[in-house]
């Protein structure tokens, strides 16, 4: 279903899903891999950060826009290693 929705916006070619794959991975990670609502919110955050930083910050421009989204993920994961809404893992020895 997501594939058919995306196919309208981009050119249909065998590799077109790889970008979508990266973004969906990114959203799932940011929200926390075991949280459904987190993925939705994180998806919105990533999309907004990417387009707005691309539009407003000149240095970033069009080419580095995907990078900013990934930087956001790294920073968030550094603060919360299980994502924004992920549940904490209990470590046993």
């Amino acid at each position: 279903l997501a594939g058919s929705l995306i196919a309208n916006t981009t050119l249909l070619e065998p590799n077109f899903m790889s970008r979508v794959l990266i973004y969906s991975f990114a959203a799932a990670t940011l929200g926390g891999l075991d949280s459904l609502g987190g993925a939705v919110i994180a998806g919105i955050i990533i999309g907004l950060v990417e387009t707005m930083s691309g539009g407003y910050i000149k240095l970033i421009g069009g080419t580095l826009a995907p990078t900013t989204a990934l930087v956001v993920i790294v920073v968030v994961l550094l603060v919360r290693p299980n994502g924004l809404f992920g549940s904490k893992r209990v470590e046993r020895v």
């Binding site: 990670t29 891999l33 580095l64 995907p66 790294v74 994961l77 550094l78 470590e91 020895v93």
Partner: protein, 414 residues
């Protein structure tokens, strides 16, 4: 149970330990002479220029070796290795074509640059683990080509970068037994150089893994908490694993440039990162030698898939009859070269199901079924001789019931 047993310390056991290495060395030397007419040519090695893909195998083997240090030994899933290989390649190519360095002097520079970048990437690994770390490193692989495009004045952008014609022409060093004369000699001396570099790097990696830091990494992989409790400094060793792995990747990038002095953003994409991991798993994660079959698979499956879909005549005879319908069908399709990706996926699944430890682990288990080395502890033999007991033969008495009373041993250890 193994069908053949060899006792330790016998000539048979010594031969068993040495002959495989001699065979491996012969395999390394063979491509240098395969093109000569007096040598029976195996496969398509009958001409010197066909050595070029083997050179590529050597480079990627070093890259996979580096990846193995971080994934196989320290247990941190890193999907950003293509960025390290790319950084090494670009460091070399920029220094060579813009600053007139020679290829060899760029090796320490690209290794150091990649070591630094690897340490920086390793820092998040201190807090992030497992799949999350995979995503973070994957983002590095994703970002690298866009950075290359962004700074096009330095990296050549989408056109790629290579030394200008006639500039920075690489001559064979004096210790290589080939000169640059003749169109076909060049891949051979490049092969010699790369092989020497790779052998040195493999020995370094083996020593690294067997030394104190390597054991610390394995401890971190097996159980982080117990490793920390046992006195392993987690932050330092985790970052070190990334740094060393990245340095190997950078040298692999330099080696790729020695082989083919051309770098472009399409070479070092996310695909390379993923295929390197696939090669690592197929070859065997956590084994040093697993990098070689991994790289062979990585280079030769696309190579032969695209060759065979066009022309089946070069295929080995036994396989040809079985796979003919498949390749007949494939050759009528569009985009037939892309089928290699499908085969990678299938091969990965098969490997994970049949050989969970990769090709090398499978070979080792097969060998253990055929040949077993029985230990022949010298102290037991000497002791029984001095006490006038019957000499122990572990082949006849694996359970050791003929050892005799062990009271003296107990007394010695008391």
């Amino acid at each position: 149970m193994a069908s053949i047993r060899i006792r330790q310390g016998t000539p048979a056991q010594r031969a068993y330990a040495w002959v495989p290495w001699i065979l491996v060395a012969l395999c390394f030397i063979y491509p240098l002479f395969a093109y000569k007419s007096w040598m029976p040519a195996v496969g398509s090695l009958d001409q010197a220029f066909r050595v070029t893909p083997i050179n590529e195998v050597i480079c990627y083997a070093v890259a996979i070796l580096g990846l193995n240090l971080v994934i196989g030994y320290s247990g941190q899933l890193s999907l950003g290795h293509s960025a390290f290989v790319g950084l090494g390649a670009y460091t070399t190519i920029i220094l060579v074509s813009d600053h007139n360095w020679s290829f060899f002097t760029t090796i320490p520079v690209s290794a150091a640059a990649c070591f630094l970048l690897g340490c920086i990437v390793g820092l998040p690994a201190l807090r992030i683990r497992g799949l999350y770390l995979a995503i973070v490193t994957l983002s590095l692989a994703f970002v690298f080509p866009t950075l290359v495009l962004k700074y096009g004045s330095l990296t050549g952008g989408p056109n790629g970068k290579k030394p200008a014609r006639g500039q920075a022409k690489m001559d064979p060093p004096s210790w290589v037994p080939f000169n640059n004369a003749g169109r076909l000699a060049s891949p051979l001396w490049v092969y010699t150089i790369l092989m020497v570099m790779a052998v040195i790097l493999f020995i370094l990696a083996r020593n690294f893994v067997k030394s104190r830091p390597g054991r610390a990494l394995i401890a971190v992989r097996d159980n982080q908490t117990s490793a920390a409790v046992s006195g392993v400094n987690l932050p330092i060793y985790k970052v070190l694993a990334f740094g060393v792995s990245a340095a190997f990747g950078g040298i692999a990038g330099t080696m790729l440039m020695i082989n083919k002095p051309f770098a472009s953003d399409t070479q070092f994409t996310i695909q390379l990162a993923i295929f390197l991991v696939v090669g690592l798993v197929i070859g065997g994660a956590g084994t040093i030698s697993g990098a070689v079959p991994g790289a062979l698979v990585y280079v030769f499956i696309p190579y032969f898939m695209s060759a065979w879909t066009n022309d089946q005549s070069g295929m080995p005879v036994g396989i040809k009859q079985i796979t003919r319908p498949l390749f007949d069908w494939l050759s009528t399709r569009q985009g037939k070269g892309a089928i290699a990706g499908v085969f990678f996926g299938v091969l990965l699944l098969i490997t994970v199901f049949i050989l969970p430890g990769g090709i090398i682990d499978g070979l080792r288990r097969l060998r253990a079924r055929i040949i077993a080395v029985t230990p022949n502890p010298g102290w037991l033999r000497d002791r029984n001789r001095t006490r006038g007991l019957k000499p122990i033969d572990p082949l006849e008495d694996p359970a050791g019931s003929n050892v005799g009373p062990l009271d003296d041993v107990i007394a010695d250890n008391a």
